[in-house]
Protein backbone atom coordinates (compact mmCIF):
# COMPACT_ATOMS: atom_id res chain seq x y z
CA UNK A 1 0.00 0.00 0.00
CA UNK A 2 2.84 2.40 0.88
CA UNK A 3 4.49 1.73 -2.50
CA UNK A 4 1.25 2.45 -4.32
CA UNK A 5 0.81 5.67 -2.38
CA UNK A 6 4.39 6.72 -3.15
CA UNK A 7 3.78 5.99 -6.83
CA UNK A 8 0.60 8.04 -6.82
CA UNK A 9 2.50 10.94 -5.18
CA UNK A 10 5.08 10.79 -7.93
CA UNK A 11 2.30 10.79 -10.54
CA UNK A 12 0.75 13.75 -8.78
CA UNK A 13 3.98 15.71 -8.87
CA UNK A 14 4.57 14.98 -12.57
CA UNK A 15 1.84 17.51 -13.24
CA UNK A 16 4.47 20.14 -12.47
CA UNK A 17 6.51 18.94 -15.42
CA UNK A 18 3.51 18.93 -17.75
CA UNK A 19 4.48 19.62 -21.35
CA UNK A 20 1.14 20.94 -22.53
CA UNK A 21 2.56 23.94 -24.31
CA UNK A 22 0.31 26.28 -26.24
CA UNK A 23 1.42 26.91 -29.83
CA UNK A 24 3.60 30.02 -29.87
CA UNK A 25 2.49 33.12 -31.75
CA UNK A 26 3.86 33.45 -35.27
CA UNK A 27 5.33 36.59 -36.70
CA UNK A 28 3.73 37.39 -40.05
CA UNK A 29 5.89 37.96 -43.14
CA UNK A 30 6.59 41.70 -43.43
CA UNK A 31 4.91 43.48 -46.30
CA UNK A 32 6.86 45.46 -48.89
CA UNK A 33 6.15 48.93 -50.28
CA UNK A 34 4.02 48.50 -53.45
CA UNK A 35 6.54 50.28 -55.71
CA UNK A 36 9.21 47.69 -54.90
CA UNK A 37 7.06 44.90 -56.32
CA UNK A 38 7.22 46.36 -59.83
CA UNK A 39 10.01 44.88 -61.96
CA UNK A 40 12.44 47.12 -63.82
CA UNK A 41 11.55 47.83 -67.46
CA UNK A 42 13.78 46.82 -70.36
CA UNK A 43 15.96 49.51 -71.88
CA UNK A 44 14.43 51.55 -74.67
CA UNK A 45 15.61 50.85 -78.22
CA UNK A 46 16.45 53.29 -80.99
CA UNK A 47 14.49 53.29 -84.23
CA UNK A 48 16.94 51.47 -86.49
CA UNK A 49 15.92 53.53 -89.53
CA UNK A 50 16.80 56.84 -87.94
CA UNK A 51 19.83 58.81 -89.01
CA UNK A 52 19.33 61.60 -86.48
CA UNK A 53 21.70 61.83 -83.56
CA UNK A 54 19.09 63.66 -81.47
CA UNK A 55 16.81 60.59 -81.60
CA UNK A 56 19.66 58.40 -80.39
CA UNK A 57 20.47 60.91 -77.67
CA UNK A 58 16.86 60.90 -76.45
CA UNK A 59 16.84 57.13 -76.13
CA UNK A 60 20.26 56.97 -74.47
CA UNK A 61 19.38 59.60 -71.87
CA UNK A 62 16.03 57.90 -71.23
CA UNK A 63 17.94 54.71 -70.61
CA UNK A 64 20.19 56.51 -68.13
CA UNK A 65 17.08 57.49 -66.21
CA UNK A 66 15.86 53.93 -66.47
CA UNK A 67 19.14 52.75 -64.95
CA UNK A 68 18.91 55.17 -62.02
CA UNK A 69 15.29 54.19 -61.36
CA UNK A 70 16.29 50.53 -61.32
CA UNK A 71 19.38 51.19 -59.20
CA UNK A 72 17.19 53.05 -56.73
CA UNK A 73 14.86 50.06 -56.61
CA UNK A 74 17.73 47.71 -55.75
CA UNK A 75 19.01 50.14 -53.11
CA UNK A 76 15.51 50.33 -51.64
CA UNK A 77 15.27 46.55 -51.54
CA UNK A 78 18.57 46.42 -49.66
CA UNK A 79 17.35 49.05 -47.22
CA UNK A 80 14.04 47.22 -46.79
CA UNK A 81 15.84 43.95 -46.09
CA UNK A 82 18.25 45.46 -43.57
CA UNK A 83 15.45 47.27 -41.72
CA UNK A 84 13.11 44.28 -41.62
CA UNK A 85 15.92 41.95 -40.56
CA UNK A 86 16.77 44.28 -37.69
CA UNK A 87 13.14 44.39 -36.58
CA UNK A 88 12.77 40.61 -36.94
CA UNK A 89 15.90 39.94 -34.91
CA UNK A 90 14.70 42.26 -32.14
CA UNK A 91 11.89 39.79 -31.35
CA UNK A 92 13.48 37.15 -29.13
Amino acid sequence: MKKIMALLFVIGLTGCSSTMVAPGPKQSWPDTPPDLKIACDDLALVDENTAQLSEVLKVVTANYSQYYACKDKVDNWLEWYATQQKIYNSVK
Binding site: D31, D42, N49, L53, K58, T61, T83
Partner: protein
Protein backbone atom coordinates in the same frame (compact mmCIF):
# COMPACT_ATOMS: atom_id res chain seq x y z
CA UNK B 1 -3.38 18.68 -30.98
CA UNK B 2 -5.23 16.63 -28.34
CA UNK B 3 -3.23 18.23 -25.53
CA UNK B 4 -4.04 21.65 -26.97
CA UNK B 5 -7.79 20.90 -26.87
CA UNK B 6 -7.47 19.80 -23.24
CA UNK B 7 -5.47 22.93 -22.59
CA UNK B 8 -8.24 25.10 -24.03
CA UNK B 9 -10.85 23.42 -21.85
CA UNK B 10 -8.75 23.59 -18.70
CA UNK B 11 -7.73 27.19 -19.23
CA UNK B 12 -11.34 28.23 -18.60
CA UNK B 13 -11.34 26.75 -15.08
CA UNK B 14 -10.74 28.98 -12.03
CA UNK B 15 -7.28 28.86 -10.37
CA UNK B 16 -8.60 27.73 -7.01
CA UNK B 17 -10.33 24.63 -8.38
CA UNK B 18 -7.43 22.15 -8.31
CA UNK B 19 -6.16 23.02 -4.81
CA UNK B 20 -9.80 22.68 -3.73
CA UNK B 21 -10.04 19.25 -5.34
CA UNK B 22 -6.85 18.19 -3.54
CA UNK B 23 -8.29 19.57 -0.28
CA UNK B 24 -11.54 17.68 -0.80
CA UNK B 25 -9.47 14.54 -1.41
CA UNK B 26 -7.68 15.02 1.94
CA UNK B 27 -10.97 15.66 3.72
CA UNK B 28 -12.50 12.50 2.21
CA UNK B 29 -9.38 10.54 3.16
CA UNK B 30 -9.47 11.79 6.77
CA UNK B 31 -13.23 11.33 6.98
CA UNK B 32 -12.87 7.72 5.80
CA UNK B 33 -10.16 7.20 8.44
CA UNK B 34 -12.50 8.43 11.19
CA UNK B 35 -15.54 6.58 9.90
CA UNK B 36 -13.44 3.40 9.56
CA UNK B 37 -13.22 3.23 13.34
CA UNK B 38 -16.90 2.37 13.48
CA UNK B 39 -17.46 -1.28 12.62
CA UNK B 40 -20.72 -0.56 10.77
CA UNK B 41 -18.98 1.79 8.31
CA UNK B 42 -15.67 -0.02 8.03
CA UNK B 43 -16.45 -1.70 4.65
CA UNK B 44 -17.36 1.70 3.14
CA UNK B 45 -14.25 3.34 4.52
CA UNK B 46 -12.16 0.65 2.85
CA UNK B 47 -13.32 1.97 -0.56
CA UNK B 48 -13.69 5.66 0.30
CA UNK B 49 -10.14 6.05 1.69
CA UNK B 50 -8.31 5.20 -1.58
CA UNK B 51 -10.87 7.24 -3.48
CA UNK B 52 -10.05 10.28 -1.34
CA UNK B 53 -6.38 9.72 -1.92
CA UNK B 54 -6.90 9.43 -5.68
CA UNK B 55 -8.87 12.69 -5.69
CA UNK B 56 -6.01 14.32 -3.76
CA UNK B 57 -3.44 13.04 -6.28
CA UNK B 58 -5.58 14.26 -9.17
CA UNK B 59 -5.85 17.71 -7.55
CA UNK B 60 -2.06 17.91 -7.02
CA UNK B 61 -1.38 16.72 -10.58
CA UNK B 62 -3.72 19.21 -12.19
CA UNK B 63 -2.56 22.06 -9.93
CA UNK B 64 1.05 21.42 -10.97
CA UNK B 65 0.06 21.27 -14.64
CA UNK B 66 -1.99 24.46 -14.37
CA UNK B 67 0.98 26.27 -12.79
CA UNK B 68 3.30 25.26 -15.61
CA UNK B 69 0.69 26.21 -18.19
CA UNK B 70 0.31 29.63 -16.58
CA UNK B 71 4.06 30.19 -16.91
CA UNK B 72 3.98 29.20 -20.59
CA UNK B 73 0.93 31.37 -21.18
CA UNK B 74 2.71 34.37 -19.67
CA UNK B 75 5.64 33.74 -22.03
CA UNK B 76 3.26 33.45 -25.01
CA UNK B 77 1.55 36.72 -24.06
CA UNK B 78 4.92 38.44 -23.76
CA UNK B 79 5.94 37.16 -27.18
CA UNK B 80 2.63 38.28 -28.70
CA UNK B 81 3.21 41.79 -27.37
CA UNK B 82 6.74 41.83 -28.84
CA UNK B 83 5.47 40.61 -32.21
CA UNK B 84 2.70 43.23 -32.27
CA UNK B 85 5.31 45.94 -31.57
CA UNK B 86 7.62 44.55 -34.28
CA UNK B 87 4.78 44.47 -36.81
CA UNK B 88 3.95 48.11 -36.05
CA UNK B 89 7.62 49.03 -36.50
CA UNK B 90 7.70 47.08 -39.77
CA UNK B 91 4.63 48.90 -41.14
CA UNK B 92 6.06 52.24 -40.06
CA UNK B 93 9.41 51.46 -41.75
CA UNK B 94 7.61 50.44 -44.96
CA UNK B 95 5.57 53.61 -44.91
CA UNK B 96 8.74 55.73 -44.54
CA UNK B 97 10.46 53.79 -47.32
CA UNK B 98 7.45 54.21 -49.64
CA UNK B 99 7.56 57.98 -49.07
CA UNK B 100 11.28 58.01 -49.90
CA UNK B 101 10.68 55.93 -53.05
CA UNK B 102 8.01 58.34 -54.30
CA UNK B 103 10.30 61.33 -53.67
CA UNK B 104 13.32 59.77 -55.37
CA UNK B 105 11.26 58.53 -58.34
CA UNK B 106 9.99 62.07 -58.85
CA UNK B 107 13.55 63.45 -58.75
CA UNK B 108 14.69 60.93 -61.39
CA UNK B 109 11.63 61.64 -63.57
CA UNK B 110 12.02 65.43 -63.29
CA UNK B 111 15.69 65.17 -64.22
CA UNK B 112 14.75 63.15 -67.30
CA UNK B 113 12.17 65.77 -68.31
CA UNK B 114 14.80 68.52 -68.05
CA UNK B 115 17.30 66.52 -70.14
CA UNK B 116 14.69 65.82 -72.84
CA UNK B 117 13.84 69.52 -72.97
CA UNK B 118 17.51 70.40 -73.39
CA UNK B 119 17.78 67.94 -76.30
CA UNK B 120 14.73 69.49 -77.96
CA UNK B 121 16.32 72.93 -77.66
CA UNK B 122 19.45 71.87 -79.56
CA UNK B 123 17.88 69.15 -81.71
CA UNK B 124 18.24 71.00 -85.03
CA UNK B 125 21.81 71.99 -84.26
CA UNK B 126 22.79 68.42 -83.40
CA UNK B 127 21.11 66.88 -86.42
CA UNK B 128 22.51 69.51 -88.80
CA UNK B 129 26.09 68.84 -87.87
CA UNK B 130 26.02 65.08 -87.57
CA UNK B 131 24.78 62.30 -89.76
CA UNK B 132 24.59 58.83 -88.29
CA UNK B 133 25.89 55.74 -89.94
CA UNK B 134 23.08 53.09 -90.17
CA UNK B 135 25.27 50.74 -88.10
CA UNK B 136 25.03 53.04 -85.04
CA UNK B 137 21.38 52.39 -84.04
CA UNK B 138 21.83 48.69 -84.67
CA UNK B 139 24.90 48.42 -82.43
CA UNK B 140 23.26 50.57 -79.78
CA UNK B 141 20.15 48.37 -79.77
CA UNK B 142 22.24 45.23 -79.58
CA UNK B 143 23.92 46.64 -76.49
CA UNK B 144 20.60 47.73 -74.97
CA UNK B 145 18.94 44.34 -75.37
CA UNK B 146 19.07 42.14 -72.27
CA UNK B 147 21.70 39.47 -73.07
CA UNK B 148 19.93 37.02 -70.75
CA UNK B 149 16.72 37.32 -72.76
CA UNK B 150 18.57 37.19 -76.09
CA UNK B 151 20.35 33.99 -75.04
CA UNK B 152 17.03 32.11 -74.49
Amino acid sequence: MFSWIIELILSGLPEWLWPAVAGVGIIIYCFAGIVGNFPAFKPYAFFIKPLGFLIFVLGVFMFGGAGVTAIYQAQVDEMKAKIAKAEDESKSANSNLQTKIVTKTKVIHDRQVVVQEKIKEVQKQIDAECKLDPAVPKILNDAARNPLKVAK
